[in-house]
Point group: C2
Chain length 191, copies 2
């Protein structure tokens, strides 16, 4: 079991959304290009990469923004995989479409990861979204990072690696997958 | 002949120096890790990569900060390869150690690149430093980018891709070199 910052499509200039992300357009202006490698038909190498990541995932930790698209739905981002949502104001139980899937935690990233670890059944806990990844990096609680580097410069948007002043992490490159439209990079945090 | 943003060692979080770069410590706090792959003995794949880049380089465009270490010296960053320095205040001729190597240009990035192109003898013009690369990206004057991605998170410092709001560049990945301590990525700008 590890804490994995995963499923992150990042532009070469470090953005995980384009400018002006909204609830209706969560990837912001021109940000859809970051997820183009997920379009069907997916390249075989992307399919294998994605299946590998999903197979390892036992629970997901996300922020309130990451949860927003699933507020009323019966499934989470990975079907029935349990999700822990970091929030200051949990929704009322009857506002949650799939209460058996979503756990709301107000105590911060360490509590969210611990709770997710209990739900993960021995598999990995995946951090979903820039803010949870940043919080976990600041707390020294990331074991691996998967970044899908997209060949584009977006100029502005949401940076994956932001608000990390004073953080210093040595990494080891574990794997590079050169898919046609994206480069999947996997790093391990060196302790 | 092309305009190449090259020789750039960047951390996974996008920094080309650590925090607080100074003239005496141009890579800032902990930033030396970015250039560790250049230490001897260099890995064979790094040696080949570096020799290839240098062989293609006919002239270098740099900013005033990039020029600072060579103010009084008899050689530039690539020996006798001509350099064009972007500056608002050119030094007096007798303050320049190698006046035959250094040309000072006050008219901006387009003029600097044009002047360097004349000096490059048909080879590529290489952009050296974050600020010249940003200026050239804003002007739409970059043909290729070489980024040596270093497996470290520095948290703060000088970002390579900054001040690029409104810039949007589609890239094509040309090459990935997986050296032991660094991943060299080469991209072409799509027109």
């Amino acid at each position: 079991m590890g804490y994995i910052a995963s499923g992150i499509s990042m532009s070469l200039d470090g953005f995980v959304t384009g400018p002006g992300p909204t609830r209706d357009r969560p990837l912001g202006e021109r940000g859809e290009v970051l997820h183009r490698w997920l379009d069907e038909p997916m390249a075989p190498s992307d399919r294998v990469h994605l299946a590998g990541m999903r197979g390892r995932t036992g629970a997901v930790v996300m922020g309130r923004n990451g949860y927003a698209p699933y507020e009323g739905t019966a499934a989470g981002p990975l079907g029935t995989t349990p999700c822990v949502v970091l929030t200051h104001s949990p929704p009322k139980p009857d506002e949650v479409g799939a209460p058996e899937l979503f756990t709301f935690v107000t105590g911060g990233i360490a509590e969210a990861l611990e709770r997710a670890g209990e739900l993960a059944g021995g598999k990995d806990v995946v951090l979903h979204g820039a803010s949870p990844v940043q919080q976990a990096l600041r707390a020294g609680l990331v074991d691996e990072l998967y970044v899908s580097l997209t060949p584009v410069i977006l100029g502005s948007g949401t940076r994956l690696f932001d608000n990390l002043e004073g953080v210093h992490v040595q990494l080891e490159r574990l794997q590079v997958v050169m898919s046609p439209g994206v480069t999947h990079l996997r790093f391990q945090v060196r302790r």
